[in-house]
Symmetry: C2
Subunit: 335 residues, 2 copies
Amino acid sequence: MDNIIDKVLNADLKTVAHLIRDVEDGIPEVQEYLKALYPHTGKSYIIGVTGAPGVGKSTLIDQLIGKLRNNSNTVAVIAVDPTSPFSDGAILGDRIRMQRHNLDDGVFIKSMATRGHFGGLTQSTRSVINILDAMGSGYIIVETVGVGQDEVDIVKTAHTTVVVTMPGMGDGLQAIKAGGLEIGDIFVINKVHLGGADNTAADISLMLNLDQRRRKENNWTPPVLKIEATSSEEINSLVREIENHKSFLQSLPNPTKAQIAKSKIKNELLEITQARVIQETLKEINESEEFITLVDDIFEKRTDPYSASEKIMPQRFLSLSFAKINRGLGLGEKA
Amino acid sequence: MDNIIDKVLNADLKTVAHLIRDVEDGIPEVQEYLKALYPHTGKSYIIGVTGAPGVGKSTLIDQLIGKLRNNSNTVAVIAVDPTSPFSDGAILGDRIRMQRHNLDDGVFIKSMATRGHFGGLTQSTRSVINILDAMGSGYIIVETVGVGQDEVDIVKTAHTTVVVTMPGMGDGLQAIKAGGLEIGDIFVINKVHLGGADNTAADISLMLNLDQRRRKENNWTPPVLKIEATSSEEINSLVREIENHKSFLQSLPNPTKAQIAKSKIKNELLEITQARVIQETLKEINESEEFITLVDDIFEKRTDPYSASEKIMPQRFLSLSFAKINRGLGLGEKA
């Protein structure tokens, strides 16, 4: 095991990729590696990039990778967005376009499928962030669609969150209002050539001013950038704003920094625990004979799913807890 | 309680709205109402409408409501999409546009916030569908963004799923590939006036032909419609295809029908159970002193979140299960 930990800490990409696959597959042993790696985390700067499909997040990230690499940092990208060209859902042309970074050993790109269930995606994404952090990534970019609670939870792990939109999105602006407004540190209006970017910027600024959810103690005023992500120069303005926000976070008083860090830890601990409770209790329900019988009973209208869930739940809790009691007393099998 | 059940069965909208609020707030007593209502479900025809923000789902649904009402059916709409004009995230103008249906007693519109956590959204949406079904809705339209596992799970409750896109979405088409392809019974390319709809239709047809996930035993070939959702006539073609798919489902042999129904029941039972396990076990963790101490320990690097989760989990399972054991033996307090 020490050998594998060393390899990860020395950024051996093959070992890292293997460990990440184990995280995604929910292999129980992976927890021991995550424990050993955790003390080495906390050094990467995490950037969230969130926005609806089609606004050009991938082009922007592609450019951003180049800029951040220029400063001799390594960069890791986690695409949680199933529609991202970085993801398996990608159309061939886009994937090839992204491959150029695959030739660069300092760039690690990982797509997270949506196989994570009931918080599993959030938890496994966090574990992957921890692995990439421990391996010494200078920057970790996390790409999400920004809709839904899982998404928001994932984005909350980032130090700086970039919310991307484009002019004329119509309902797309509502996506920002519904989820992105609260979490955005920098707003980017991409594809300005489409026209109407000034209106979109005014809309976002207005929404920002009206939003009650933005914390009062946080004195950061999110900039609203109008750019063409294909332009290298205009991406520079985004990089500058990311650096500005990074400096802002560093300038915060220590109690505020501790408060932010603890809030993230709290979320992480809850998510890990929830994912495990689900995994441990429900895998067996799904495979039990009683479960199949209850499905039939509901189908035949002999019972309803609410009553049925009460029938399987207590039993499950009992058998699981007896195993735990025995284990705790040294009577049971090895964990 | 019988009084409330009667009121729901007689489509008393005030009672229905109240019960739905209790479902969203996770009031435990609501389970008893859901149990009593369940035998009255299974009569509504459920239509899923899914697509990225900005493709015009709400306009399409608005028109669809009118058409389905024309056939003297009542229609209920559940907007799970937080960016929907039906939702709280909506921009004022859009909300007003939708209000016209609010004057119609046969139309019930409900927006589901994303407050459901760890599967809670899926489960509470299902419960709301059951309530609206029991109250005698002819059609229930469920609007979602179609990205993420929760979304896909919700859409799987529908009899007919309409996947909406528009020409020139670029990465937006990947949204269909990532999630919508598998679940779509009818594909709609909206906003054909933008041009390029033929290319989009060809892309979708190609993806459908290539998709291995579509079940072989299912002989339904999803139509790909090119429409302008603002046009009443063109919405008629969508209504016809919905009716076609409904007839197709009715024509399936009984064993296939049972298989489809049982698969839905299985998902529902699992979701209800998972949501309850999470609710029962983790509410207390979050409030416990040990949890606060562990967060501090992780912050001070005295432990890691993976080890910490193991410390709180077994204890929680133990205390919970002892309560259950006592209750099971008649020794504990009332459930």
